[in-house]
Amino acid sequence: MISKLINRKILTLLKVQYSNMLEYRVEIALWAISGIIPFFMLNIWTNNNLNESINISDTLLSRYFLCAFFVRQFSVVWVVFSFEEDSLMGKVSPYLIQPLNPFFRYFAQHLAEQITRFPFALIIAFFFFIFNPESIWIPNLGILLLSIVSTFLSFLIQFLIQSIVACLCFWTEKASSIERLLFIPTLFLSGLLAPVVSFPAYVKSWIYLTPFPYLIDFPANLLSGNETNISGGLIMQILWIFILFPLFKKIWSEGTKKYTAMGS
């Protein structure tokens, strides 16, 4: 009974958000294009033969960056910006009355956006293969499934982190600037611009304890067939979710007590 209810809620939310997202196809296409930074980085790497020093062949590196692009496409999170706007406009108040945590709404929004984005990401990948035909490969089914799981886990980690930041909206009006601050280490340490293997030893010694390499580097390595510790990576991802989720619940319950219904 309860599970049926939840199912219905989730399905309805997804359907509504998907049709909503379909209206903004052009925007989502543009957004997909804005994620092509990994390809520029790949260009620097291969054009200057920098990959020789880290023992990754051109082909494997180009696969890595393509996978990094894909993982990034399906783990982009912007909940803090939506929540900040809603909370400044006073839209959070009606959501709070509903018997459903408003973050489910945002969650469905993100999933729907990912579905809309999928064809565009495929088109970009298609062009990538036209320019780099030697990097075409077909990962086996098991690896593909595992990397989808780990990409989803990476998305969950980022969603939780951003939701925690979003909850700071209850205390300060501009939580998005904190998110912009957090985005910097995510950008440089997650492996979007350079694979974590290439990092100097003094960074590698501690980076695997932080959530960053599991956001893009780990799923991308998994999917592209580069060397990686599969079980270790998945365990760390799940561990981070277990750390972040209670934190989010705590800050949410504290925050809703502080809520002052701005703008209404």
């Binding site: 294009i33 930074i37 620097i44 054009n47 020093s53 600037s177 601050l181 440089f188």
Partner: protein, 264 residues
């Protein structure tokens, strides 16, 4: 065009927007930390590239740092002027308040591109200058009058090109209403400006000098600093900057013909 009137109006703009921005003092601090971290991150990335290779696209590490410095200054300028005003233009068009701007006895382009200012960008500009002075010392550049005028000319041309690019995209808001994602595309392309143009492959180099002249924005001023620049390149940059400025103006006037206000 009455210059004195415009100066007086601009003083008022400065006063009002500074007053409103200084309300969020902690925000400015967070933005400063973000700017510092982002600079540290890009130097870190650069150091990965130079880990096992002395030259990238013919640039030494110390020389490539100049590009970072100029990028940081230009990014600071973007964050101080272009970005906050663009946000305003989108709002004006969505809510139809552009009507009020157009009715004012003042040039509309002047009004909407200079109305707002975000003081936290100043800190980034200063940060960029600090790095630039440091680079001048480690590269043993001797300052003389010709060099100073040339670098001043090229940097102001870069600012003009950058402004035109931003303004072009903001102008398209009149047709598309929501242009956030187009901005993200521009931002991700601008990211290329952090690296010397010669480190990219030939096709990308052509793309970034012909279609989106990002190459001109940071590489040419840096070449001037190093005394590597050829006269025709500087001349070309001046011409490109003038073409861009004139066209951004024309495009704005053209777009205004299609403006049909909102919900009225």
């Amino acid at each position: 065009m009455n210059l004195r009137k415009y100066l007086k109006v601009y003083k008022k703009f400065l006063h009002t927007s500074l007053a409103s921005e200084l309300e969020y003092k902690t925000n400015i601090l967070v933005d400063l930390i973000t700017a510092i971290l982002s600079l540290v991150g890009s130097i870190f990335l650069l150091s990965i590239f130079f880990q096992n290779s002395g030259y990238i696209g013919g640039w030494k590490f110390e020389q490539a740092l100049i590009i970072q410095a100029i990028y940081t200054i230009l990014n600071g300028i973007t964050n101080t002027w272009f970005n906050p005003n663009l946000t305003e233009i989108v709002k004006h068009i969505r809510e139809g308040t552009l009507d009020f701007v157009l009715l004012k006895p003042i040039d509309s382009q002047f009004f909407i591109s200079l109305k707002k200012i975000n003081p936290s960008g100043f800190l980034e500009i200063m940060l960029g200058f600090l790095l630039l002075f440091f680079c001048i010392r480690i590269n043993e550049i001797n300052l003389n009058l010709i060099f100073l005028t040339l670098s001043l000319i090229t940097i102001s041309c870069s600012i003009c090109i950058l402004y035109s690019l931003w303004f072009f995209i903001s102008t398209t808001t009149i047709w598309f209403v929501k242009t956030w994602n187009a901005i993200e595309v521009l931002r991700s392309f601008l990211y290329i400006g952090r690296f010397p143009l010669s480190s990219f492959s030939f096709s990308l180099r052509i793309f970034f000098s012909v279609f989106i002249p990002i190459a001109f924005i940071t590489t040419i001023p840096s070449e001037v600093f190093l005394g590597l620049s050829v006269f025709w390149k500087i001349l070309l940059e001046i011409i490109v900057a003038i073409i861009f400025l004139i066209n951004s103006r024309k495009f704005w006037l053209f777009a205004l013909k299609f403006y049909s206000s909102a919900s009225s």
